[in-house]
Amino acid sequence: MIENIDKACRLVAEALGVSLGEITSKSSIETIEAWDSLGHMRVVAAVEEILQRELEPEKLVAITSVTDIASLLGSQ
């Protein structure tokens, strides 16, 4: 899980164009200013690129945090 959290932090930092140091396991759409509506689009695209598939609708609408993304990466 820790490995997936690290991957998720890197993914979010890269997608939002912020430094990795700004992202932690507790980061979410509520805590990161750069995680806006367009940033979210980039985050979702990055997750789907890594998974090489479109996310199921229930999972797609549930992404709000780094831990959500780590869970998705863990289900690869």
Partner: protein
């Protein structure tokens, strides 16, 4: 709070026939702007836009212009269709001026609209049904604390004929009041 509704950066005031000009029509003809809206299904001109506007009475069916406070520039519309019998309102939004995308416009104007619907229009529940693949819309509903009630599979079509899933997002009055109290 009567109309217009005011926010820090915007006014929301009834969308008028006089607001239907080339700028507005250019939004309706921009595939990127209308990709998740019913406007994608037809070519719009001034007549079709007037027909569409005539469906709004600004008593139960509201279509409000989003105007920049400083310049009075029209950048989009936000709508609310109220069902008085059940105390519900279905909402929608279009930001046509793409220079404002990603700048928190929807969060700001929808907060004011929710306050107005719950406080002034005595609405019990506000809901919407964005396409699941419309990530910016999903983000905005999540960010504002809406609950996803479920997914309607292959429920709506796009202009290319493809059926896509939509999500039902809602906010109850009590939930909004709690959220508002928490922010103060």
């Amino acid at each position: 709070m009567p109309l217009p509704i005011e926010t820090q950066r915007f006014f929301l005031s009834p969308f008028l026939i006089s607001d239907i000009g080339e700028v507005y029509l250019s939004w309706l003809r921009d595939p990127e702007v209308v990709q998740w809206l019913n406007a994608q299904f037809r070519h719009h001109d001034a007549n079709s836009a007037r027909e569409w506007l005539a469906q709004h009475d600004n008593k139960d069916k509201f279509c409000l212009s989003v105007l920049v406070r400083d310049t009075k520039t029209h950048i989009g519309n936000i709508s609310a269709n109220i069902d008085r019998r059940h105390g519900t309102a279905m909402i929608g939004v279009m930001i046509g001026d793409k220079r404002w995308w990603g700048s928190g416009v929807v969060l700001e104007i929808r907060e004011a609209l929710l306050n107005w619907l719950f406080d002034e229009q005595n609405i019990h529940k506000v809901w919407s049904m964005p396409f699941v693949r419309n990530a910016p819309a999903i983000f905005n509903y999540r960010r504002q604390g809406f609950t996803c009630e479920g997914i309607l599979r292959a429920h709506r079509r796009r202009s290319n004929g493809e059926y896509l899933d939509v999500a039902i997002f809602s906010m109850l009055r009590d939930e909004w009041m709690l959220r508002r109290k928490g922010r103060k």
